[in-house]
Amino acid sequence: MAQVTIRGVEKRFGQTRVLSGVDIDVPDGGFAVLVGPSGCGKSTLLRLIAGLEEADGGSIRFGDRDVTRLAPRDRDIAMVFQSYALYPHLTVRDNLAFGLELRKTPKAEIEKRITEASEMLGLDPLLTRFPRQLSGGQRQRVAMGRAIVRRAQVFLFDEPLSNLDAALRAQVRVDIKKLHDRIGATSVYVTHDQVEAMTLADRIFVLNRGRVEQSGPPLEVYARPATRFVAAFLGSPAMNFIDAELEHEGGRWVVRAPGVSVRPSVSALGDAPRPGKVVLGLRPHDVAPPEELGKEGAGEIHAQVEVLEALGTESFAHCTVGELPFVARLPGASRPAKGSALLLGIAAEHVHVFEADSGRALWNREG
């Protein structure tokens, strides 16, 4: 096991800059998730860590070893590919044994590790089969097994669940978490799925256009997004954004837009806020009718219900606020009628305010 330290990594493909100045830290035994929209450079970053691509600048260290220029086979990594990349001409057993045999691991040891991994992943009945004889979920487990038997220093995953159907994906997600708790291997996991990112990571790195936009423990990043991009990416349904004005009024700061007036917390505004155009961000899960808020309200949102999606335990009210679309989560019991007015409150700590032009949270302003 080892910690992973990445400093100032750069990567270009021809003229296209794919990664610029990326820093990543994963503690020994940590589980880091690189998350971001398709094409933001996640896979490229993972392949740099694996040594399948060469960095144009910066350094990659495992523990105190500088691996930046090492070939993949000298880095001591194991990787689960999005396509699983099982060797089609080998049985499951030989797929598992492949890397160990290449490293001249003694036969008895190989046998022991295969037994152990197949017990962990339930591969026993599959060992004599060929990859083409396996279902998608089984292939995925074999790919995991092939990584586990290696007992590598660093585990890399590139969207390992993206080829599974939704139900299986949720189950394997939990299995991966259990496996990590059991094995404790330093892991770097790439996904574009924010649910995977939130549930698996002890540290997430949100990538946008080849840069780390924000990193930290997932709940912290969720609670305090540093940019509008991060705010929009994490959470489902996505955060509501409203063009608004920040005003100073009777010694207090207020964010106003048609139908909206809320008072953000001091910590959301950063030092020396200035009045002017801002973007207000409110999560559907953070707003509620004032009597159900359970906290002191910090303002009012006047919404007009257009569509109600009732799911039983909760409902999503698709509304308009001013002229803008706005989604609110309501507890299962409340069923406002279509077209009715809905008054919503929000706690001050849940009010996010972003600069209109840069998209940065006010507390995260530059300069």
């Binding site: 070939a71 086979r73 990349a85 060797y87 089609p88």
Partner: protein
């Protein structure tokens, strides 16, 4: 109701087309069989290829040639060597074309294509001179050199196509697992491409096994002749032993038919490549 009738008509028509096609391609073959088994040295002029009387004389005639065994061996050695050498040269070239980008790649591919446009005969004279200079005239090695080099372009195309269908992830997985790139090629890519390699080898084998003009030009020693040249001698200028020629043709075709039968499974898999996906 209507649909079913259309289906029936369609099926009948397509079967008719198949029957006509099969008859068309089998008719000459049946004549060869008939000629091989009929008495007399010239084919009879009749519509249906049914021999009047059966005889194995022509088979005996062909097999009693003084060097027939060493000539058969010669043919097999030359053809197998051609396939092996051709594949050995084409594999790394095809892999490089499939996986790497380098200066002159597309131009090189086009040049390879261009060489395919000339019939082998066109280069018979220059090849003769080259082999003479190298002292390889009248040797099977010389013939293999000619065959292998001419089989390489097609083999490269075929194998490059096969490699293109093998996901890059497989090699990368092998490299992460501890293999060098060459190790990944040998341990993962080659086995995954086995059907295509078998088919490509078969084509190279057949083109060498059936080739006549270069063989007749380059080889001289009676016992080293390849079978197409031997066959041709039966229908020489003076007397044409059509019966023995036909019997020999059938015997000569047997190894190829056998090979096709053996690689049949690979043939289908090789032509529908992509079945290699993990």
């Amino acid at each position: 109701m209507n649909e079913r009738r259309v289906g029936w008509v369609e099926s009948a028509l397509s079967h008719l087309a198949i029957v006509v096609g099969v008859a068309f391609s089998l008719y000459p073959v049946l004549w060869v069989v008939s000629t091989a088994l009929s008495a007399g040295s010239a084919p009879e002029r009749r519509v249906l290829p049914i021999p009047r009387s059966l005889t194995l004389d022509h088979v005996h005639h062909f097999l009693s040639g003084p060097h027939v065994v060493s000539q058969a061996v010669s043919s097999l050695v030359v053809s197998v060597a051609t396939a092996l050498v051709g594949i050995a040269i084409a594999l790394p070239a095809a892999y490089a074309l499939s996986r790497f980008t380098f200066v002159g790649k597309e131009a090189g591919v086009r040049l390879l294509l261009a060489t395919q446009m000339f019939p082998m005969v066109a280069s018979a004279v220059p090849l003769y001179i080259v082999l003479e200079t190298l002292g390889l005239l009248d040797t099977r090695t010389g013939l293999v050199v000619c065959y292998a080099t001419t089989s390489v372009p097609f083999a490269i195309f075929q194998l490059r196509g096969a490699f293109d269908t093998i996901p890059k992830d497989l090699e990368e997985a092998a490299m992460v697992d501890g293999a060098t790139r060459f190790g990944a090629f040998v341990r993962v890519v080659l086995p995954a491409a086995r059907p295509a390699i078998a088919v490509t080898g078969l084509f190279a084998f057949m083109s060498a096994y059936n080739e006549f003009i270069l063989a007749a030009t380059i080889l001289g020693k009676e016992e080293a002749l390849t079978l197409p040249v031997v066959l041709q001698r039966f229908v020489g200028e003076h007397d044409a032993a059509w019966g023995a020629f036909a019997a020999g043709s059938i015997l000569v075709s047997l190894p190829v038919m056998l090979l096709f039968y053996v690689v049949q499974k690979n043939l289908v898999a090789g032509l529908t490549a992509g079945g290699v996906k993990g």
